[in-house]
Amino acid sequence: MHVRIQEADFDVGSELTALRRADPRIGALASFVGLVRDVSGGSGVSEMHLEHYPGMTDKALAAIVGEALQRWSLLDVLVIHRVGRLLPTDQIVLVAVAAAHRAEAFSACAFIMDYLKTRAPFWKRELTPEGARWVEAREADDRAAERWQQPGG
């Protein structure tokens, strides 16, 4: 299990290659990459700044990954989240989950992203033609995270 918080960009190809090559039992590798869009709430976004809570961020992500490892039979998990100044089309986050079979890998990848969006202490501030503004949390993200607490979730 690997969690990294960094300003630098990451190369998805080399990260996934390193993850899958480490264990020949891996039969499925699911990944998600979150990107900066150039539009938000009807306004153009020229750049974004990602703030976090150093110290807590690593712990929160490790706890989320730990819960995924308890729920599913996984072989490895990688989470990389960037902070600092980002531009449209930049990569923000990578979640990669390795398992023997795809069902576990797909589910755990979605679970980690849903929990990351509601429990990991990151905040986005975006620059628009109307000025800089903090991104508001979305109710849809709360609902997405809640579905994992339903029976059978």
Binding site: G34, L50, E51, H52, Y53, G55, M56, K59, A60, H81, I92, V93, M113, L116, K117, T118, R119, A120, P121, F122, W123, K124, R125, W134, V135, E136, A137
Partner: protein, 83 residues
Amino acid sequence: MLTILYFASVRERVGRAAEELALPVGVADVAGLLRHLGQRGGAWEGLARIANLRCAVNQQMVALDSPIGDGDEVAFFPPVTGG
């Protein structure tokens, strides 16, 4: 002594990122600390009324009625928006 941290829009609202504060007499939980900070007036009065204010004690997200004690690190922030 408490370490209190403020993040994102909450930090901008109170104009401060961090402070050290002797545990105020009679304050036993996060809600009590918010009431104490509100006595400073100005932007501090509105702190407890921020919709969906989130809190962490010792880097764990907790509810506002959670206990706090001497030596704790308490952080206030808006709902998270990473990913």
